[in-house]
């Protein structure tokens, strides 16, 4: 980088030049002192001034859960230059600084200096975040030489996962209140070792499943009988996540969508433990993401698949409010006849589109449950002293009753306010609607 002489330096040298003129015109040797001093000072600064050589290494966690608090340690080593360095260390949106600061000031004199800088942060929202470079501004001593800005490459990547509620099997029993026969069986998934029933042999059945004793007991002329085993992930459940704008009520970190995603992952984890097939349908496509459906499947791999997909869900703009069923999801629904839990925030504008989509889905699903994620507790947290929020809530609740009555013939509607009803309780309630 070229050294550029600023006005301060020129002014200072002008002083030296003026005294040189004084020395000449007045013939005073004392004036030489006034020439030497500025020249010497500028010379020392000129020698000291160098392009700042700075190295920064940052110790940043790579995986976090929402709400996690962690400490960032940065080691800064400055070997050249003299002056003040302003550093901008990694910090992302949706993170909160708890202690210290990511923007730091360090002074370096003549000696090589090492600094250990720490600050504490908290992750507030799910997502993948990347910080590519650390910016710094180097202000050389005295401002005699120009301020310089630079960037140090740094690859900090962090994935913030939604914090899910681990619900113990023991404490929560999957119990359906429905008297439907368990016919919503999936045709996919491998056979487990759990005995289900005995039936007549059909071509294609593996020989090892033939129950010789039962066949012998049956009669000599009767059909060959085979054991039928339950298939893994017998029942299919699909979570439909509405990511239209009503789900964005509240803040970027706290809104019905974020609560809904946490509910989906917590419930998915529980259902997969019970060998259910679980899938996800993101109702509105986000830019750059092609797949809107995760096929129902079982096992913890499926949990990771669902988690990866929901990490990318973002709300889209409200207008136009359209729910279109993709061809992929339509074929999944036809194939697996799933229970659908539709997570949305019911507002006046989306009742009619919701009715339309539910009508279409009803032909292909065993049952549909609408989980209406209410934002009232979020509003109360954002502005705790806003009394008008109480009236708004009262008014909204009345309006909601009317909306629910419109939807009631088509699907079961369960309102849920995440701030007032725990995840365990709502999941317990939702299990009653499982098939």
């Amino acid at each position: 980088m070229e050294k550029s002489w600023t006005k301060s330096l020129l002014g200072f040298l002008a002083i030296a030049a003026s005294f040189a003129v004084v020395a000449f015109l007045s013939g005073s040797l004392e004036a030489a002192l006034l020439v030497i001093f500025p020249l010497l000072y500028v010379g020392i600064m000129y020698i000291l001034d160098e392009e700042g050589s700075i190295q920064v290494s940052v110790d940043f966690p790579t995986k976090l859960n929402v709400g996690d608090e962690f400490e960032v340690n940065a080691h800064v080593s400055i070997s050249r230059g003299a002056g003040i360095f302003l550093l901008e260390l990694p910090y992302f949106d949706f993170f909160k600084l708890l202690d210290g600061s990511n923007v730091r000031v360090v002074f370096k004199g003549v000696r090589h200096r090492n600094y250990d800088l720490t600050y504490k942060m908290q992750a507030l929202r799910r997502g993948s975040f990347e910080w590519k470079e650390i910016k710094y501004t180097y202000n050389p001593t005295m401002g005699i030489l120009n301020t310089r800005e630079g960037k140090i490459p740094c690859a900090v990547k962090v994935e913030v996962l939604p914090r899910i509620e681990i619900l113990r099997k023991k404490g929560l029993r999957i119990r359906s209140t429905r008297l439907n026969p368990r016919n919503a069986r999936s045709r996919i998934g491998p056979a487990s070792t759990d005995f289900d029933s005995i039936r007549a042999y059909t071509p294609g059945d593996p020989y090892r499943t033939i129950n010789w004793k039962a066949t012998a007991r049956n009669s000599s002329t009767g059909p060959i009988l085979v054991n039928q085993y339950e298939r893994e992930g017998l029942h299919s459940t699909v979570f439909a996540i509405d990511n239209s704008s009503p789900m964005r009520q509240g803040t970027k970190e706290e809104n019905p969508l974020e609560s809904g995603i946490k509910l989906v992952l917590s419930f998915t984890n529980l259902l997969l433990n019970y060998q259910y097939n679980v899938g996800v349908w993101v109702m509105q496509k986000n830019r750059g993401i092609r797949r809107d459906v995760i096929m129902p499947g079982s096992g913890m791999e499926q949990y990771l698949r669902i988690r990866r997909r929901v990490m990318l869900v973002e709300t889209i703009k409200f207008v136009p409010q359209v729910y279109s069923i993709s061809r992929e999801f339509a074929s999944v629904a036809r194939e697996t006849v799933p229970s659908i839990f539709l997570l949305t925030s019911v507002v006046e504008a989306n009742v009619i589109p919701l009715k339309k989509v539910i009508k279409t889905l009803n032909t292909a699903s065993s049952n549909i449950v609408i989980v209406d994620v209410l934002p009232f507790s979020i509003f109360a947290r954002i502005s705790p002293y806003d009394i008008s929020a109480l009236y708004t809530e009262g008014f909204s609740r009345k309006a909601k009753k009317k909306m629910y009555s419109e939807l009631s013939g088509l699907a079961e509607v369960i309102p849920w306010d995440p701030g007032r009803t725990s995840y365990g309780k709502i999941i317990s309630r939702l299990t009653m609607s499982l098939r």
Partner: protein, 198 residues
């Protein structure tokens, strides 16, 4: 050193030549030049306390004593037959005070740098305590270098004046010094850079 302390130093040091000119027995013109210098220093302190503002007054304040010296002794007085009437003994003291005032100028520039950094940093959410501590170190450093320069300049001056064997014209010596100095400083800077690249 806190920035305010630095400003106080700068203010006192820069004010000395002007105040001296006001107090010595000279003509009305010398008093006017002294007053102008004092006013410039007061103005420069006002500007310095407002970060981001250009402050040429700190340099201009030196012009008035320079005029006073030129119009008190030497070729101009000889050919124009005009003097502001500062005695030769007072001129010696004025030179000494101007020497100190140059240190004040360094203090003022350092204060302005600290203030400018502080303004940028405060707007961008930097920690106030850390900022105060680090700019304090910057102030100490630049003022320390100023003192080093002051001492060094004095030693060089003593050397120039106390070596009779050289028998060279002071102006020529000064010119020679300037050339050698610039050459050396460039050589040192380059060699440092090469060393750090290796």
């Amino acid at each position: 050193m806190r920035s305010v302390v630095l400003l106080v130093f700068a203010f006192i040091f820069l004010l000395l030549p002007g105040l001296f000119m006001l107090t010595i027995s000279g003509s009305t013109f010398s008093i006017a030049l002294g007053a102008a210098s004092v006013l410039c220093v007061l103005g420069s302190v006002y500007f310095a306390s407002r970060p981001g503002r250009k402050n040429p007054l700190k340099f201009i304040s030196f012009l008035f004593p320079i005029f006073a010296i030129i119009l008190s002794k030497g070729y101009v007085v000889k050919y124009l037959h005009f003097t502001v009437g500062i005695a030769a003994a007072d001129l010696g003291n004025l030179f000494d005070l101007l020497f100190i005032a140059q240190l004040g100028l360094i203090a003022m520039m350092s204060y302005e740098t600290s203030n400018a950094i502080r303004k940028v940093a405060t707007e961008n959410g930097y920690d106030e305590l850390e900022l105060t501590a680090e700019t304090g170190k910057l102030n100490n450093f630049s003022f320390g270098i100023g003192l080093l320069g002051l001492g060094g300049a004095f030693l060089i001056y003593l050397f120039i004046t106390s070596v009779p064997t050289l028998q060279i014209n002071p102006i020529f010596a000064l010119l020679l010094f300037g050339l050698v100095y610039l050459g050396l400083s460039r050589f040192l800077a380059r060699s440092r850079r090469r060393g750090s690249q290796a």
